[in-house]
Symmetry: C2
Subunit: 291 residues, 2 copies
Amino acid sequence: MFKRLCIIGTGLIGGSIARAARAQGLCQEIVAFGREKNQPNLQLAKDLGVIDQFYTHISAALDHADLVIIATPVGSMQSIFELIKPYWSATALYSDAGSTKASVVSAIEAVFGHVPNNFVPAHPIAGAERSGVDASNAELFKNRRLIITPLNNTDPQAVEKLTRFWEQIGSSVSEMSVEHHDTVLAATSHLPHILAFALVGLLGRKDEQREIFKYAAGGFKDFTRIASSDPTMWLDICLANKQDIIPLIRQFKAELSNIEQLLVDDQSQQLFDTFTYARNARQRFLDTLDD
Amino acid sequence: MFKRLCIIGTGLIGGSIARAARAQGLCQEIVAFGREKNQPNLQLAKDLGVIDQFYTHISAALDHADLVIIATPVGSMQSIFELIKPYWSATALYSDAGSTKASVVSAIEAVFGHVPNNFVPAHPIAGAERSGVDASNAELFKNRRLIITPLNNTDPQAVEKLTRFWEQIGSSVSEMSVEHHDTVLAATSHLPHILAFALVGLLGRKDEQREIFKYAAGGFKDFTRIASSDPTMWLDICLANKQDIIPLIRQFKAELSNIEQLLVDDQSQQLFDTFTYARNARQRFLDTLDD
């Protein structure tokens, strides 16, 4: 059990971690740090009972905290590490919830010159198109995956403590390398988000958009759900992982060009094979979920 | 009330029309026509109580039918019209459930030399990634949209009768031109299906596909749901509406190229604006659903 959990970034993810930790009795006290301008949001988190207290001074927020989780958009992590650095405690456990891992590791390296061995990079795979602490809930991570990407020097005890924390709030914890994490997530999450943003943006600019949207079926609603995700968060993710995302965009365009050419040439059999291959691949995906 | 509803193509859509019509008491008898090789499926439909009887001879199936609905993949419609032609009744109402309308109109024109005034082209917008009569249900069209695309010579009374039929099984009926229907559906349905097929196909061919699928979150599942759709049906739709789909694929690739270039150039503000525009467009779409 932790004495004091300090959440930095009390949005959907940070708020849900706090709620889940409290629901499972994993810490005695939950505090949050935020900048002055975020005071209304922090007050809301306190009013909702998500956190016990909040501070706009980092030293007060970190005081006696033995678990610190940074749940801000990945683009602001470096400035957070700069704020924390003077108060870094060798006995506390530090982690994050960033959707990209190489950028987070670079950010902490840029500030410390190395990655402290009590910082454990982590990523809860629990997307939601809603954002903000009012959307947070204690069940968000239940039956979801949490990926830890330890470095060579990461303290195994710190990894173990963080693993236990996430398992207790219902997640299934895996470990992989930073690079592998970013490659896999570019495919399953980052590229699909870009496709959804691109599609809704394209259709939204058409003259007949009202009618297009009016006659869209449930499939379209599901398909575009992730286009309702937080633009700030996704801007950060896309820039942070562009080295993996850009090649995937190019591969996807080639895939589309292939289908386009098959259509132009009326290549029925090859189109049928393409669609069938995809349907079977999705079935393999569904089978994986059942494992 | 119709005396005898004849369904041609007893899959998800045809089966659901039959079930809904029976549930609402819209016809005295429901029969189906199918080819010899589809006998097991027709027997299943009969065993499930979806239809009262089935025939592998078109003349027997059409005998005394006063409502005939063709719910086969659009690519087979012309051969169906050829089968029906000798038994065409001036007093019956004929319609279809094809996802593309220009191709259906061309098919019937090719067979009859014109479009009979008692044929009313229609399209229930009720997608489902499942297929087959065992997936059919009486509620499939409830609160869904049904688009009728009448031609200049279509009998207004036939349109009215078909409208009433679909309204009674719970659909909200609209009318638009054949061309407009195909343009709108290319954007909301055909392109998204191609994107989903392309994405799952691309990822399914990657060496690390097992891991990619393992770490995919709920967003990916929703996003790719439509990639589980019936390949035969979608092959037909894509070929039937390629004149609308091909330009959309090109526009979508240009949209992706734009995002790709913004990423390459680290154009944060423009990326943020792109994602924000898309999120707002999706909100307009959701607002449309609430209307």
